[in-house]
Symmetry: C2
Subunit: 235 residues, 2 copies
Amino acid sequence: MPSMDVCFSPELLPLYNLTGKIAVAVDVLRATSSMVTALSHGITHIAPVSELDSCLAYRDLGYLVAAERDGIKAEGFDLGNSPFHYLEEDRTGRMLAITTTNGTQAIRLSRAADEVLVGAFLNVGAVAEYVRKAGKDVIVVCAGWKGLFNLEDTLFAGALAERLEGDFTLNHDATLAAYHLYKAAKADKLGFLSKSSHVQRLERLHILKDIEFCLQEDTYTVVPVLKGEFLVPAE
Amino acid sequence: MPSMDVCFSPELLPLYNLTGKIAVAVDVLRATSSMVTALSHGITHIAPVSELDSCLAYRDLGYLVAAERDGIKAEGFDLGNSPFHYLEEDRTGRMLAITTTNGTQAIRLSRAADEVLVGAFLNVGAVAEYVRKAGKDVIVVCAGWKGLFNLEDTLFAGALAERLEGDFTLNHDATLAAYHLYKAAKADKLGFLSKSSHVQRLERLHILKDIEFCLQEDTYTVVPVLKGEFLVPAE
């Protein structure tokens, strides 16, 4: 039976062997939720970029450019980090380059895996289905917050563990922790998270609507998968 | 109000600012539980040492030397890592040098803090009382397992958070996670932990008796505190 593991911070990723595994990069608030939303609403592919400068350079190639630093849209960019950017305006057929504080780093560091997927509550069921079919070991790579553990990405890992229960072994300590935390939070994820100083900080940025959106499960069926430099919908 | 934070792995400790804080180093299975037991049963002070060689060198100074690697007593040492070493034989007035896979490293790395304490379930109430009186920010430094998150040290952090509730802010994500996991595990910690492949591995080493002992709360009132190179009972 394949196993599911969880890495709570990109800083810990060097301790994991990703060879032969599927990595699921997650930054629920809000990078990977926005990516899933973008690919579900007509964006053809996404370049996840680490640096502001290299992200901005994609504009000359015809890309929409999106950037956030510390929760706020970075100066000179078309878009910030809200999933509503892709809902409220038609972006069909557009290409997107995006850089965020934590999310794009998690994707980049996951490249040692056989495949890199992007996960969010919005597509958790589709991600579960994809990795179940693949039958390989899976590791959730939490973006965390500035290298630290965060609750929302952990809850995503727990939601994925619940979906995979019975078909994957869940006996790594981090996976068990995520699983139990999700069980405790499931009935009211927003209430559970709202005690977190990190989430309170996001709420002060007036993105409560975004947070509520990002905590919805199974809104989309797209599974973004990394092909070369780009995230594209899995076939 | 002072705050309580949790660092899930020594690998993440460089991300934390320890200045002005009390660090509580914890390696529940079994290093810090053994240290607490030793100081409660007549050991005068403990030298926590990182390397086997430098630990063995203390023998010439009249110390008992204890070492464990990967859960088993290291060759040439007087003692391994079981708290029963200090219960089953009279060690009154002896000095102890100890090195373990993860625990002594957590202590060493915590030195940037104002004070370093050693915590375990066995003395969790006494640790809570000590830090409450000190009124400083506290950070639990989990030894983890080979750099990875582990459940048992996290549960200790959760137990401490529960004891400090009302007097300390608990809104860091790692603290909230530990708190909720402890709530879920509290009624049957051993049952909760026995799903963990890491704890299963310890059980295969036939140390179930040790594990049960280490999960007891408030057996001892000693608070080991680092003075220079040595752990001594707090006054």
